[in-house]
C-alpha cells in the first residue's frame, strides 16, 4: 500500500482547497482577490527566487511559497499578517522608500508595479487566504454551472464556457458556417483538408446528427493516428538522427508506427504510458511493447570521438528526467539538475532520484569501444536493437494472407503466386529498431551544481518527487513500470496531474491554445487555467473513461464552444484580444506537416499509405555538406514515397528539411509542447519556390485541366478553389485569378522555352496530351491558390 497519497500529503500541509475560479487575466470587475490567480504568480515571479523552494539561495531564512512560513512568527513580527496590512512586514518592505530595504532588490531586475502592490495589500486585507498550487490538487468533478441561457449549450463544456461569459456580460460568437466547420474538424482530427464530397454532403445537411457522424468518421479514420502522432512525436522528441556532433542516423521508425497505431486503436493512455516507459518490464512483453519501449532511446546521443562516459551518463540522465517530467507532469524539472527548483517544490534530490529510475537502461554501447573500454568507434553501436516488422507492416502481411487464403488454389494460381511473392518480400523486409533492455542499474549520485565530475554527492534510490508521493514504500527498488503506473494512477499516484496535462493538450489541438496556456509548465511560472473547473472535469472524465483519448476529443469537438466562428468582431478583439474566454474559435496557420499534406492532397500527388519507414522528399542539393563522420549525401526518394504525408518525413535533427524548419517544425532535440506559428519571409519562399511546391502546383494544374465537369476558365477556377479551400471564390477572387491566368497565358505563349523549364520541375510525369503553354499558365494560377493564406490556415 502506498504510504501517502497525493491528497493525504496536501492535507498534511493543512491546505483547504479553495474554489479556483475566474480566469488568469481579469477582464471584468474585480471581485475577491484569488490567491492562485492573482497572488501566487506575483510572489513566484518576484520573490521565490530568494524566498522559495531552493534552500541554497534562500535569503533571511524566509519562505514565501509556504503558508506557515510566510505567516509564521519571526520574533515579534511576520511577513504576512492576515487581515492586517500595516503589520505585514512584506508590505513594509515592498513599499519601503529605502533602497536598501525595498523588495525585490533592484539588482534582481524584478519590479512590482503600483497595481501589484495594491493587489497584494488587498489580498492581505481580505484575509490572506492561501491555496495550494492548482496543478498538484487532484482534480475533482464539479457540477457544471447553470447558465441563464441554455439553448446554446450542447454539453457540459458549454455550460462552463457560457457561465464564464455570462459572468463577464459577454456572449459566445455565432456558429461558423458548415463549410468552414467541416474543414476545421477535418484538419483538427485528421490533419488533412476534407474531400469536397464530404464538404458538400455536410453542407447539404448540417444537422447535429450529421455533424456527430462526421466526428465519428474522422475519429475512425487512420489519419487520426497520424494527426495525433504529430503532437506526440514533438513531445517525446522523436527523430531519425542522434542529434549531437555527426548527427548520424539511428533506427527507430517502427516506434512511429506504434504511436500512430496506438492512437488509431485508441489504446488507453495509461497503457500507452506503460508500454513506452516500461514495455520491456511488462509480463509477457509483446513485440509492439518492445518497440514502444524505444521511447527511452529517443533522446539525443553523442557519437563524437573523445566523449567521456561519465559526462554523457549525466547528460542522458538529465535529458530523460526533463522529458518525462515535461511530457507527463507538465513540470520543468530540468532546473533541478543544478539546484532545487526556484518556483516549484521539486528538489535536486528529486531530479536525481527520478533519473535513477532510468539507471537500468542499457544504452552505453556507443560510448565504449568493442573491447569494453571507454572510447568511441565509428560506426557506433546502437544496441540493444531488434529486427521487426512494424505494426502496420504486420497488418499488411495479414491482409495478404487473408487474400491468399480467400483465393482458389487452382483457378487463381497465378494471382496467388504474385501475392505470395509480395508477402514474402514484405515478411523479409524487417527493420532494426532501438528498444529498452534492463541491465544492472548504475549508481546515481546527486551532482552538486550538476557537475558530473563531482563524486561527493549522496547516492540516491529511484523515487518520484517526494512531495508528490512515494513508489517504493517497502524499500524495494522502484522501476520504470512503477513510475508509469504512478503517473497514470489518479487514486494513489499523480494521474490527476497527468490527465490535466493531457486534456489541456487535446483542448489545444482543437482550439490552438490550451485552457492553461503554457502546455508544458503547470508550475508556479506557468499560467493557471482560464477555466479551472472545466479543465478539472475534462481530466476526471479522461480518467473515468479509462483514459479514452477519442472520447475526450469527441466531447470537445461536439461542444458549441468548438463550433463558433473564429472571426472576431471589433468588440471581441478589444475586449478579449487573446481569446482567453473562448467567446470565439481561433484561426491559425497549419503546422508544417499539414501544410505539406494539404498541398499534396489538393494537387492529387498525395500517396495515402499508412505507416512505414521515413521518407525523403526533395531538398536542396548539398544541404548536408556541413555534416561529417561520415560525410553524406541526402538521397531523395524517387518513387511514390516522396509524396507521403509530412509525419513520415525523415527528421534530421541538425539539418531539418528547410520546409519543416521554415514552418516552425521543431528539431526535436528537446520536448516541444507548443510550436510557434510564425509568418516569415523564409516560409513564403518555401511556398513560392521550393520545387516540391512548384511540382504540386503543376500536378494541381493537371488535375484542373483534366476535370471534365469544368471547361471554362471560370469553372476551372471554381474547381481549383473548391479543392484548395472547400468553397467557391467570390467575384473579386475570380477576377484576380482570371487576370493572373490571362497574363500567364500571354507570357508563356511568348516564351515557349520557359514553359518547358517550369514543367520540368519535379519527378512526377508530365502529361503530354495537354498544351504546355496552357499547363504552365494554370501552374502559375495554382501557385497563387496554394499560396493563399486561406489554403494553409485552419479557420
Amino acid at each position: 500500500m502506498h504510504k501517502s497519497s497525493l491528497l493525504a500529503r496536501l492535507c498534511l500541509v493543512g491546505a483547504v482547497v479553495a474554489s479556483q475560479s475566474q480566469c488568469a487575466i481579469c477582464l471584468g470587475e474585480q471581485s475577491q482577490v484569488d490567491f492562485n490567480r492573482d497572488i501566487r504568480p506575483l510572489l513566484s515571479e518576484n520573490c521565490f527566487a530568494c524566498h522559495g523552494p531552493d534552500s541554497a539561495t534562500r535569503e533571511a531564512e524566509l519562505r514565501l511559497d509556504q503558508e506557515e512560513a510566510a505567516k509564521g512568527d519571526r520574533g515579534g513580527y511576520a511577513a504576512v499578517v492576515a487581515g492586517d496590512v500595516a503589520l505585514s512586514e512584506l508590505v513594509r518592505r515592498i513599499e519601503s522608500g529605502d533602497e536598501e530595504e525595498r523588495m525585490p532588490p533592484s539588482e534582481t531586475g524584478k519590479h512590482l508595479t503600483d497595481e501589484d502592490i495594491s493587489l497584494l495589500k488587498r489580498w492581505i486585507a481580505e484575509g490572506a487566504s492561501w491555496s495550494p498550487a492548482w496543478s498538484y490538487v487532484p482534480p475533482k468533478w464539479l457540477e457544471p454551472p447553470a447558465t441563464k441561457e441554455s439553448e446554446w449549450n450542447r454539453n457540459w463544456i458549454d455550460q462552463f464556457v457560457l457561465a464564464r461569459l455570462e459572468g463577464e456580460g459577454m456572449r459566445p460568437s455565432q456558429e461558423v458556417d458548415p463549410v468552414t466547420l467541416v474543414r476545421r474538424l477535418s484538419f483538427d482530427l485528421t490533419g488533412m483538408p476534407p474531400k469536397p464530397e464530404v464538404v458538400e454532403a455536410y453542407a447539404a445537411d448540417p444537422s447535429d446528427q450529421a455533424y456527430a457522424r462526421l466526428v465519428d468518421e474522422f475519429l475512425a479514420s487512420p489519419h487520426f493516428g497520424e494527426r495525433m502522432a504529430m503532437m506526440w512525436l514533438d513531445l517525446v522528441r522523436f527523430a531519425d538522427s542522434v542529434g549531437y556532433h555527426g548527427d548520424q542516423e539511428h533506427n527507430i521508425w517502427p516506434y512511429r508506427d506504434y504511436v500512430i497505431h496506438a492512437f488509431n486503436v485508441n489504446l488507453p493512455f495509461d497503457q500507452f504510458t506503460r508500454e513506452q516507459l516500461a514495455g520491456d518490464l511488462l509480463p509477457e512483453t509483446t513485440e509492439d511493447q518492445l518497440i514502444a519501449s524505444g521511447y527511452n532511446r529517443l533522446l539525443q546521443t553523442s557519437h563524437e570521438g573523445g566523449v567521456q562516459l561519465k559526462e554523457y551518463r549525466a547528460i542522458y540522465l538529465a535529458d530523460r528526467v526533463r522529458n518525462v517530467s515535461q511530457v507527463w507532469m507538465g513540470a520543468t524539472m530540468g532546473c533541478c539538475q543544478c539546484h532545487d527548483h526556484k518556483y516549484d517544490p521539486y528538489t535536486a534530490r528529486d531530479f536525481y532520484s527520478m533519473g535513477a529510475l532510468f539507471a537500468d537502461i542499457d544504452d552505453e554501447w556507443h560510448l565504449r569501444n568493442p573491447s569494453g573500454e571507454v572510447g568511441n568507434t565509428s560506426p557506433t553501436m546502437r544496441k540493444p536493437e531488434i529486427e521487426v516488422l512494424s505494426v502496420y507492416q504486420r497488418e499488411a502481411l495479414s491482409e495478404l494472407d487473408r487474400q491468399i487464403s480467400s483465393l482458389d488454389s487452382h483457378k487463381d494460381a497465378d494471382q496467388i503466386a504474385k501475392l505470395r511473392q509480395q508477402r514474402d518480400s514484405l515478411a523479409a523486409a524487417k527493420s532494426l529498431t532501438m528498444i529498452t533492455e534492463s541491465a544492472e542499474p548504475r549508481k546515481v549520485r546527486i551532482l552538486g551544481r550538476g557537475d558530473w565530475q563531482d563524486e561527493s554527492g549522496e547516492i540516491v534510490s529511484p523515487a518520484v518527487p517526494s512531495f508528490l508521493g512515494d513508489i517504493s514504500p517497502d524499500e524495494q527498488r522502484a522501476n520504470r513500470l512503477d513510475l508509469a503506473n504512478w503517473l497514470t494512477d489518479a487514486e494513489n499516484g499523480t494521474g490527476g496531474l497527468t490527465a490535466r496535462v493531457m486534456v489541456n493538450r487535446f483542448w489545444a489541438l482543437l482550439f490552438g491554445e490550451g485552457l492553461a496556456r503554457v502546455l508544458d509548465d503547470f508550475g508556479g511560472q506557468g499560467e493557471s487555467p482560464s477555466h479551472p473547473e472545466l479543465l478539472d472535469n475534462l481530466a476526471v472524465e479522461y480518467v473515468e473513461s479509462g483514459w479514452d483519448t477519442k472520447h475526450i476529443m469527441k466531447l470537445i469537438a461536439l461542444s458549441s464552444a468548438y463550433r463558433q466562428t473564429a472571426v472576431a468582431d471589433e468588440y471581441l478583439r478589444t475586449r478579449d484580444p487573446l481569446n482567453r474566454l473562448f467567446a470565439r474559435q481561433n484561426r491559425f496557420r497549419l503546422p508544417a506537416e499539414m501544410v505539406r499534406d494539404t498541398t499534396l492532397a489538393v494537387s492529387g500527388l498525395l500517396v495515402d499509405e499508412l505507416g512505414g519507414r521515413s521518407v525523403r522528399p526533395a531538398q536542396p542539393a548539398r544541404y548536408y555538406q556541413n555534416l561529417n563522420f561520415p560525410e553524406r549525401e541526402y538521397e531523395p526518394d524517387t518513387g511514390s514515397q516522396q509524396w507521403r504525408r509530412g509525419v513520415y518525413m525523415h527528421w534530421q535533427r541538425t539539418f531539418l528539411h528547410p520546409m519543416l524548419k521554415a514552418l516552425d517544425a521543431p528539431t526535436r532535440e528537446e520536448c516541444t509542447a507548443h510550436r510557434p506559428k510564425s509568418n516569415t519571409a523564409l516560409a513564403a519562399l518555401v511556398l513560392l519556390n521550393d520545387p516540391n511546391s512548384v511540382e504540386a502546383a503543376r500536378a494541381f494544374a493537371t488535375r484542373i485541366l483534366s476535370h471534365d465537369a469544368a471547361l471554362t476558365d471560370n469553372e476551372r477556377i471554381d474547381f481549383a478553389f473548391r479543392q484548395a479551400v472547400s468553397r467557391l471564390p467570390d467575384d473579386r477572387q475570380q477576377q484576380i485569378l482570371v487576370d493572373l491566368l490571362n497574363e500567364s497565358r500571354s507570357y508563356f505563349a511568348a516564351n515557349p522555352a520557359d514553359n518547358e523549364e517550369l514543367l520540368k520541375v519535379g519527378k512526377s510525369p508530365v502529361r503530354n496530351d495537354l498544351s504546355p503553354a496552357e499547363l504552365a499558365a494554370w501552374t502559375t494560377v495554382s501557385r497563387a491558390v496554394l499560396n493563399m493564406s486561406e489554403t494553409t490556415t485552419r479557420n
Binding site: 477582464l27 531586475g109 542529434g243 549531437y244 556532433h245 555527426g246 548527427d247 553523442s302 563524437e304 570521438g305 573523445g306 567521456q308 559526462e311 520543468t332 532546473c335 572510447g375 472576431a568 471589433e570 478583439r573 478589444t574 484580444p577 484561426r587 496557420r589 542539393a621 548539398r622 544541404y623 556541413n626 561529417n628 535533427r653 541538425t654 531539418l656 528547410p658 528539431t667 532535440e669 528537446e670 510557434p676 506559428k677 510564425s678 509568418n679 516569415t680 519571409a681 523564409l682 519562399l685 513560392l688 519556390n689 521550393d690 512548384v694 473579386r732 477572387q733 484576380i736 500567364s744 516564351n751 520557359d754 517550369l758 504552365a776 501557385r783 497563387a784 499560396n787 493563399m788 493564406s789
Partner: protein, 478 residues
Amino acid sequence: MDESQSISLQRQIFRRTFLAQAGLGLGSAALSTLLGGESQATSASSLGLPNLPNLPQQVKRVIFLCMAGGPSHLESFDYKPTLEKISGQPMPESYTQGQPIAQLQGQELIAQGPMTKFGRYGNSGQIISDFFPYHRQIADDICIIRSMVTEQINHDPAHTFMNTGTVISGRPSMGSWINYGLGCENQSLPGFVVLISVGGRNPQPVASRQWSAGFLPSQYQGVPFNSSGDAVHYINNPPGVSSDLQRRVVDSVLALDRHRQETLHDPDLTARLAAYETAFRMQTSVPELVDMSDEPQHVLDMYGAVPGDGSYASNCLLARRLAERGVRFIHLYHRGWDHHGDLVQHMNTCSNLTDKPTAALVRDLKQRGMLEDTLIVWGGEFGRTPMFQGKGGPGRDHHIKGFSMWVAGGNIRPGTSYGATDELGYNAVENPVHVRDLHATMLHLLGIDHKHFTVKFQGLDMRLTGVEEAKVLHDILV
C-alpha cells in the same frame, strides 16, 4: 478596465503578435501605419526592442570568425618556452589531476613543446606564430585574449556553449539574441547570416542548432548563405518564371489575402502579407549581394577571393558586403582546426586558407572607416592540450582551461593583449575570460546591458549570459 486601457492592451498585444510573427525587417512606414501611435516606440529602421540600446552603442554589428575544431593556442598566439623545455617528458600531474580529458582518456600524458616559431610584430610587438604571417599586418589593430576558458570539451557542446551560453539545446544563438534586441537595419536581408566555408581538411560538423533562434521568434534565426546552388534556399524564382511573372504571382497572393483581410482584421494575416513582400524583396537583394562583379580586382586579390568558390576568402569579402548593408550579425565558420595529429601539416592548410583573408577583412573595414563600428571576433570553441597526441604525427587534444581568441573594432584597445595562461599554457591564470564574459562584452559594445536583456522562457528570465556572474571586459576597452 476602461475603454482606453483595453485599447492600449489590444495595441500591446497586437504589437507583440505582430513582432513575433512579422517577417524579416519591415519598413518603418508600414510599421507606423500598422501600429499607429506606437511606432515611435520602435526605432526608425528596425524591429528591435523599444528599450534598446540602453547603453552608448560602440559598434553596430558583429563579424564572428569561428575557427571550428579548436585551433591550438600554443601554435598561434600563446608562446610557451617552458613547455618547450619539458617537451617529451611526462606532463606534471599537478596540472592534469582530475581534469576533464577528451581523446587522451586513459593514456600517458606527455608534454609537447611548441611546433613552430613565434615573433613580435607591429609597433605593439604582438606575439604571433609563424603560421600566421598576414596577421602581422593587423597586429596593431587587434586585442589578443590569451586567457579564454570554456566549460565543454567536445566539439558539439562546446560550439553550442560558445554560441548560446549553455549546452542545453533549444536556446537562441548570440546572433539571434542581438537581432531580437536591436533589429536589422536592412529591410531586405536577414539580420543574422551564417557563412560556412568549403575547403581545408576533415571538417567539423556544424549543426543548424548553432544559429537557431531557440525560443525567440523564428525570424531571428540565422540564415545560412550557400556557396553553390541558391544562395539562400528557394531564393530564386522557379525555372521558367521571370521576375515580372513572379511579381504577378506574389501580387495576386497579396490581393487575395488582402481581400480576405477585409473581413478578418487578423494581425497574423498582416504579418503574412509583410512576409511575402519581404520575401520578394529578398529575391532581388540576395542575388545582388552575392554578385561580386562590382568588386575591383585589387580587392579580390587582397582577400584572395574567387567569387562563387565558397572559400573562407570569398566569405570574408561577403562578410564585408553584408556589413555594408546593415546586417547585424555575420557568423563565419571555417572548419578543419581539430588537430589531434599531424598538427604542423594541418595548421599550414588552415592558415593558408584563412590567414590572408582574415587580415584583409580587418584592413578593408579599417580603410572604409567601418572597423570603428564593427566588432570582429576570431577564435575556436576551445584550444588544445599542452600534451602530445599522436594520431599520425604530433598533435594535440581538446583543451578548455586556457586558450586564445582575438577581438578588434569599435573601442577595443588595438594592438594590445589581455590575460595569460600559466607557463605550460594549461590554465588561464591571469585575468581569465569566460565565454560569458565575451558575451557580456559583446553586448556591452552593442549598447546592451547583458543583465537586463532577458526573455521569459519556461517561467525563467533567460539571458545570453546565463545566471552565473558575467563581466564586461572594461580593461580591453578604450
